[in-house]
C-alpha cells in the first residue's frame, strides 16, 4: 500500500512529539500503577533470560581469567591472610560446636519447638541493572525452583536484598542500596530497631532509630523480625559512618560483584515439614567474614 507523500511527511513530523509524549506518559503511568509493569517485566525477563544467560557466561569466563591473574599476583600475601583467618575461624568453629550442643540441651530442657525448615536455592546473576539510579539483579531461578516474592537473598557474607519480582525461571532481587529498599533491621547487641533505607549510594542509611540509641562505628546490624518477612538475626553489615543524623551501613556482602546468590525460604509460614537442617540445592559461596553463617537461627 502506498501512502501519499503529504501524509507520510506529516507522520514523520509527528513521530518525534508522539513518541516523546508516549514515553513520558509511560513513565507517569508507572508512578501510579505498577501492576501492569510488574507483569511485563517478569514476562520479558523470562523470555530474555536464555539470551542473557548465553551472553553472561563468556563474560563470566573472561572475568574469571582476569580475576585469576590478579589473584596470582597477590597469592603469597593472600595465603598468609587466609592461614591467619583459618586459625581464627577454627576457634569460632570450636565455639559454635560448643554452643550448638549447649543450645540443643537447653532446647531439650525447655521443650522448644524446632525451627522451621530452611531451604535455599542458589542462582547465578545473569543481569545487573548497572544503572545510576536502580540497583537490582536478575537471577536465573524463579517459580519453578520455589522462589517466592519477599524471600531473602544472601551471599556467604550476608544479606543482599529481597526478591521483588518472580517469573517462571527468573527472579529480580532488589539490592539493599536501591532507592526503594527499606528493610527492618536491628543492632545485633542492643536490639534497637531501625529501618535500613537504600539511597542509591554504596552504603544504605539507617533511619527511624529510637532517639536514645548510642551508635558506634563498627556496630553490627542484623535483620529485625518486625517486618515479618525475614527471620531476625541475618547478618546485614556494620555501621561505617556516623555524621550527625546520617548513619551509614557498609553491607557485608559485596554488592558490586555478585555472582551467585542464595535465595532462602525460611518457611516463615511454618507449614513445611520440620527439620532444622538447611537443604541447599547447590553450593553457595563460602562464608568469609566472622559473623555467624547466613541462616542463623534466632537464639532464644
Amino acid at each position: 500500500m502506498r501512502i501519499s507523500a503529504p501524509v507520510k511527511a506529516a507522520a514523520q513530523r509527528l513521530a518525534l512529539p508522539f513518541l516523546v509524549f508516549l514515553s513520558g506518559m509511560l513513565v507517569v503511568f508507572g508512578k501510579t500503577d505498577n501492576l501492569l509493569y510488574d507483569g511485563l517485566r517478569v514476562a520479558v525477563a523470562d523470555r530474555v533470560a536464555p539470551i542473557l544467560d548465553a551472553i553472561s557466561q563468556p563474560v563470566a569466563t573472561v572475568s574469571g581469567v582476569v580475576q585469576s591473574f590478579s589473584d596470582a599476583v597477590g597469592v603469597h600475601r593472600q595465603n598468609a591472610e587466609l592461614r591467619e583467618e583459618n586459625a581464627r575461624l577454627l576457634q569460632w568453629q570450636e565455639v559454635a560446636r560448643r554452643l550448638a550442643s549447649e543450645n540443643a540441651e537447653l532446647r531439650d530442657l525447655v521443650k522448644l519447638v524446632p525451627q522451621n525448615t530452611v531451604s535455599s536455592v542458589s542462582g547465578r546473576v545473569i543481569a545487573d541493572s548497572g544503572g545510576a539510579f536502580a540497583r537490582n539483579v536478575l537471577v536465573n531461578v524463579g517459580h519453578n525452583d520455589g522462589v517466592e516474592r519477599g524471600q531473602a537473598a544472601l551471599t556467604g557474607e550476608g544479606l543482599v536484598g529481597r526478591v521483588a519480582e518472580v517469573g517462571q525461571r527468573t527472579a529480580r532481587v532488589l539490592l539493599l542500596t536501591d532507592l526503594n529498599s527499606h528493610i527492618p533491621v536491628e543492632f545485633a547487641v542492643s536490639h534497637a530497631r531501625a529501618i535500613l533505607d537504600g539511597d542509591n549510594s554504596e552504603q544504605p542509611r539507617l533511619v527511624y532509630l529510637p532517639s536514645k540509641v548510642e551508635v558506634k562505628l563498627g556496630d553490627a546490624i542484623v535483620t529485625g523480625g518486625s517486618g515479618g518477612i525475614f527471620p531476625p538475626g541475618l547478618p546485614v553489615g556494620i555501621v561505617a559512618s556516623v555524621s550527625g543524623d546520617v548513619i551509614r551501613v557498609e553491607p557485608y556482602a559485596e554488592l558490586a560483584r555478585l555472582e551467585v546468590l542464595r535465595v532462602v525460604d525460611f518457611g516463615m509460614s511454618g507449614v513445611l515439614p520440620q527439620s532444622a537442617v538447611p537443604i541447599p540445592r547447590a553450593t553457595g559461596r563460602a562464608a568469609k567474614a566472622a559473623p555467624a553463617p547466613a541462616p542463623a537461627p534466632p537464639a532464644n
Partner: protein, 171 residues
Amino acid sequence: MPLATLRDVGYPARLLPFLSTLIFALVSVVPINLPGFAVVTPAFALMAVFHWTIYRPDLMPLTAVFAIGLLLDIINGTPYVGLSALTLLVARTFVMTQRRFFVNRTFPVVWLGFLAVTVANFALVWALVSMLRGTLLGFRPFLFQAVLTVSCYPVGSYVLARAHRAFLIRA
C-alpha cells in the same frame, strides 16, 4: 513502520544498526565482575544510538530508538519504564541537529561530541529521576556512569565502525 519496510526490501544488512544497538543494550545489563569495576556499567545503547544517528540515521529511525529504550527500561527493572526511551529519543534528536557537523570529522572531535551528549543525557536522567522521586538524588553515580560511558566510547565505536564497514559499505 520503517523497520517492517526495511525487512520487506530484503536487505538483512540494513538491520545492522538496530540489531547492534539491541546487542549493545543487552550487553549493558550483563554483570561484569571484574575487580575494581563499579556498580554502574557504561551506557552502551547510548553509544550505538549516537554512532548510527551520525553515520546512518536512515537506518536508526525514531521507532527503533524508542523500542530499544523501552526494552532497556523493562530489562533494567527500573521503576520508570519509558525513561530510557525518552532520553534516547532526546539524544537522537539532538545529534540529528548537529549531524552535519560530526560527519567526516576526525575521531577526537566526534568523541568530544559524544562527551557533550553523554553529559547532557545523564544530567537529564538525573533531573527527571530527582523530579519523579521528589528529592535531589546524589549526583555521583550519574557522573561516574557518564565518565565510564565516555571512556568506553572508543571501544564501542571501533566495534560499530568495523561492523559498519563489513556489512553496510560493501554494497
